[in-house]
Structures are given as structure tokens and as C-alpha cells.
């Protein structure tokens, strides 16, 4: 079967890969590019841990055909920290004990980033809405909501 050449930006870097028709973006990122930060959870859009940003918009990479991102810009958790410095959201997640087993964390952070990028000072309800497509089984969500609000507050005062 012939492969499809595919180019897109991955965390600010141009990448070129060959994918089989029907390959989803999650598989392309994990197996062809080697970015293991988007996680495979349910594989059918029910858990949110594969979330990535496509041109700044939150998407489930397991439900996105890789071919559809040609020429577009993909952001994953792998690109979030700046050199040795954690992103304010990552720092806030650590400070607020917003991760336990950590499996949902990549998706939570991307959902939070998508929110704060378009709404730097969200209300609690807006934070809840923003992460409502992401399942967490350890934290009870409250520490995650608090972490996102803390990151937003810190950014506002900085």
C-alpha cells in the first residue's frame, strides 16, 4: 500500500513523515515522530488524554486523521516547557498536586492551555467547562481546577 507524504509543524519544528491512509494523528505523533506525550487512553474520543492543539484549537488526536493536519501547526505537551523552565501551567499543576498517576495530565494541560490562550482570566465555571472532556480518576478534579485558576491568576499579576 502506498504511503502518503505529510508535512506539518510539530511544536514549532517542521516535520515530514510518510503515513498510511487512515492513520490517526495520535499514532503519527507517537510512533512516527516519537512524541510520547499525547497518551492513548480509550482511542475513541471519550477520555481526552490524547488532546493536542491544532492551529491553537483543542483536538482529540485519536479522532483526527493525520492527513488532515498537512501544513498545520500541532502543539503537544512536549513543546510546553521552555528549555529548563516549566510552563506556568505545569508549575501550577505541581504546586497544586493536580497529578497523581499522571495519565490524564498531558490532555489536561493541553485543554488548560487552549483555554488560557484564548481566555487568560477564566471563571471557575469556564475552567470546569474547558476540562469537561478529560477524564481523571485520581484527583477528584478539584486540584486540577485550582491549578488552572492559579496559573491564570499568576499570569494576570505577572
Amino acid at each position: 500500500m502506498s504511503k502518503i507524504p505529510l508535512q506539518f509543524r510539530h511544536n514549532g519544528r517542521d516535520v515530514a513523515i510518510f503515513v498510511d491512509g487512515g492513520t490517526n494523528l495520535l499514532v503519527a505523533l507517537r510512533e512516527l515522530i516519537g512524541d510520547m506525550t499525547p497518551k492513548f487512553g480509550c482511542g475513541q474520543g471519550g477520555c481526552g488524554t490524547c488532546s493536542v492543539l491544532i492551529d491553537g484549537e483543542l483536538h482529540l488526536s485519536c479522532l483526527t486523521l493525520a492527513e488532515t493536519v498537512a501544513g498545520r501547526s500541532i502543539e503537544t505537551l512536549d513543546g510546553m516547557k521552555q528549555g529548563p523552565n516549566l510552563h506556568p501551567l505545569q508549575r501550577a499543576f505541581a504546586d497544586n498536586f493536580a497529578a497523581q498517576c499522571g495519565y490524564c495530565t498531558p490532555g489536561m494541560l493541553m485543554a488548560a492551555k487552549a483555554l488560557l490562550d484564548r481566555n487568560p482570566s477564566p471563571s471557575r465555571e469556564e475552567v470546569v467547562e474547558a476540562i469537561s472532556g478529560n477524564i481523571c480518576r485520581c484527583t477528584g478534579y478539584e486540584p486540577i481546577v485550582n491549578a488552572i485558576l492559579a496559573a491564570a491568576g499568576g499570569r494576570a499579576s505577572a
Binding site: 475513541q44 498536586f97 467547562e129 469537561s132 485520581c138 477528584g140 478534579y141 486540584p143
Partner: protein
């Protein structure tokens, strides 16, 4: 349609660990020539913080900085045996094993230091910052690193310790059925407030107030993390989750996260938690365990709150809207109970 507010309370008495085979766990502690220590376990840290807490326990027992201890765990090929991370047993069982191992390693470390300083080991103490000194004479000291190097290259000593914690097996009394399943119990009381919609049968959490007595909280933030997350799981068990909604008939079981229901971030409620610290006599530094037990009081408290709100007593979990509606219909309408 009316939404009825109800309040329910529940108290629990929760055994830490279990009775099977004495529920043992083992730990090994050894020093490296750098003066740092490695704790070898096979216990699992699922994110609950077992590695952090055993690290604290080891450092405190050895008398060295917490940064000087590394916990190597989760592989039963390389670590000594552990029964597992369940039954709120990690801090208590594994912590006790680590404490015993660290105590033995400390004994060897002090002997090795005594040989270098030419004093009696009983005259030595640790400063918790990586030094061992003569009691009352802090200037006569040696770093744990130099002790580790001397033990390794000069004295030919292994600074190490073995630890196991085993509760003697309690047999069932054939006359009374009585037994003592655990040596240590945690306690909790939780008050739940809910709104029950008598048209849809939906139950919404309004707030929770709880008090947990779990011995000494060795790491208060980790304890709080367990209590907050565990209460969510309690709500989930009480109102949402089941693999077999029509048990024992397996049909209509959930196949994915769309059908296997759990409360989302919009379904939680404010939860005010008080932690009471009453050190356990046989716990490591008085600790019990905040794991599994933190989910438990939520279930009966929510069931009681639903009874208080609409007068139906549902004893089958999870308490789904369908069950609430059928029960309300069977008694001819909602019957709010008195609130105190």
C-alpha cells in the same frame, strides 16, 4: 418538579491492611559510596505518594537529609516482596518495613563512624544534614559520605539494613467467629448534602464536610490529595459507576467511557476536610493510612442524604436516577424527612 435538599451522615471504622498471611512487606536499605542511600522495595506507587512517604520515613530514621535517599521500587525482580498497594496499607506496612531496615542500616553507619572517630557508637548522633558527630561536641564530626567511603574502601563494611513488617495472623474463633483483622484502624465521619430532583431522579452533590482520623499525617499535602480524590471516587461509586447495571444480568453493561459513567469536573462539590492526628502506636512515626478508606464514608452519607431529601431508602449501588424515580413512585411521591 421539585428539587429537594437532603443531608446525610456516615461514620466509618477502617482497618489498615488486611489479615491474610499476616500481610507482610519487606524493605532493604543500603548506602552508596556517595553517602546517599537507596531503599529497595517492590511496592507500587500509583501516584498516591508511597515513594515520597517511604523516602521521608527512611531519611528521618537514618538521620540524613531527605535528598540523600532514593527509593527504587515497583519491580518484583529487584525489590524484596510486598503484598501490594491496597487496603490503605502502604504507609503503615511498607513504612514500618522501611523504618526497620533504616534502623538496622543506621546501626551499621554509626558503628562505621565510631571506628573513624575512635569513639563509642552510642556516643554519636546524626544532625539530619548529612553529618555524624559526638554528642555534645558537634565539631568532632564526620560526614555520612566519608563514613560510606570508609566503610566501602577501608573497613569492608556494608552499611545496609533489612526490614519486614508482619502482623501475626489472627485466626477466627470457632465459637464466636471473632477475629482481629488488623492492628490499626482509621476513622472518618462525613456529612453530605444533596439535591434530589423528584421529576428526573437526578442527585446533585451540594457539599461535603468531613473529618478524618488517620494517625499522624506524615505528608499533609499528600494526605489531603488522597482525601479529595478519594471522596470523588466515593461520589462515583454512590451515584455513577457500575460495570453491571442490571446485575446479575450482564446485558447493557458499559463498553466505553461514554457508557461507563463517572462524575465530571462539573459534578463535584465543595468539600471541607478536617484531619485529626492521633498517632497510631504501631504506625511508622504514628501514621495509619489515608488510601482506600477515604472513599468509603461518602457512599452511606449520600444514601442517607437521599433518604433525608425524598424519603426513599436505596440500598443498591449506584443510586441511579432510575432507581430514585422508581422508589419515589412506589411510595407515591417524594416525602422529605425532617432536617436537623
Amino acid at each position: 418538579m421539585t428539587r429537594h435538599r437532603g443531608r446525610g451522615m456516615a461514620s466509618i471504622n477502617y482497618p489498615i491492611g488486611m489479615n491474610l498471611g499476616g500481610d507482610p512487606s519487606q524493605a532493604l536499605v543500603h548506602s552508596n559510596p556517595s553517602g546517599k542511600f537507596t531503599v529497595a522495595l517492590s511496592s507500587i506507587d500509583l501516584g498516591q505518594g508511597m515513594k515520597s512517604v517511604t523516602r521521608q520515613i527512611c531519611a528521618e530514621t537514618l538521620g540524613v537529609p531527605v535528598e540523600d535517599v532514593y527509593v527504587d521500587t515497583a519491580d518484583s525482580d529487584t525489590g524484596p516482596h510486598c503484598m501490594g498497594s491496597f487496603a490503605s496499607r502502604g504507609t503503615h506496612r511498607v513504612g514500618n518495613a522501611v523504618m526497620a531496615a533504616a534502623r538496622e542500616a543506621r546501626g551499621v553507619m554509626m558503628e562505621a563512624a565510631a571506628e573513624e572517630l575512635e569513639v563509642n557508637a552510642s556516643d554519636l548522633d546524626t544532625d539530619g544534614r548529612g553529618n555524624i558527630h559526638v554528642k555534645g561536641a558537634p565539631h568532632r564530626s564526620i560526614s555520612t559520605k566519608d563514613v560510606a567511603i570508609a566503610a566501602q574502601f577501608k573497613q569492608g563494611k556494608t552499611i545496609s539494613g533489612r526490614g519486614i513488617f508482619l502482623v501475626p495472623l489472627s485466626n477466627v474463633d470457632p465459637e464466636t467467629g471473632e477475629m482481629s483483622p488488623a492492628t490499626c484502624y482509621a476513622h472518618a465521619c462525613l456529612v453530605a448534602e444533596v439535591d434530589v430532583d423528584d421529576e428526573t431522579g437526578e442527585v446533585a452533590m451540594v457539599r461535603m464536610d468531613s473529618a478524618y482520623e488517620l494517625g499522624r499525617a506524615l505528608n499533609p499535602r499528600l494526605v489531603e490529595q488522597q482525601l479529595v480524590g478519594g471522596a470523588w471516587m466515593g461520589i462515583s461509586h454512590a451515584l455513577y459507576e457500575t460495570p453491571e447495571p442490571y446485575y446479575p444480568d450482564p446485558v447493557h453493561g458499559p463498553r466505553d467511557f461514554v457508557e461507563y459513567l463517572m462524575p465530571g469536573p462539573g459534578d463535584i462539590c465543595p468539600h471541607d476536610i478536617a484531619v485529626l492526628e492521633r498517632p497510631a502506636p504501631d504506625g511508622p512515626f504514628g501514621a495509619k493510612g489515608p488510601g482506600e478508606m477515604c472513599a468509603n464514608p461518602v457512599l452511606p452519607a449520600v444514601a442517607n442524604a437521599i433518604f433525608n431529601a425524598v424519603g426513599v431508602r436505596i440500598d443498591d449501588l449506584p443510586i441511579t436516577p432510575e432507581k430514585v424515580l422508581r422508589a419515589i413512585k412506589a411510595q407515591g411521591g417524594a416525602r422529605p424527612q425532617s432536617r436537623r
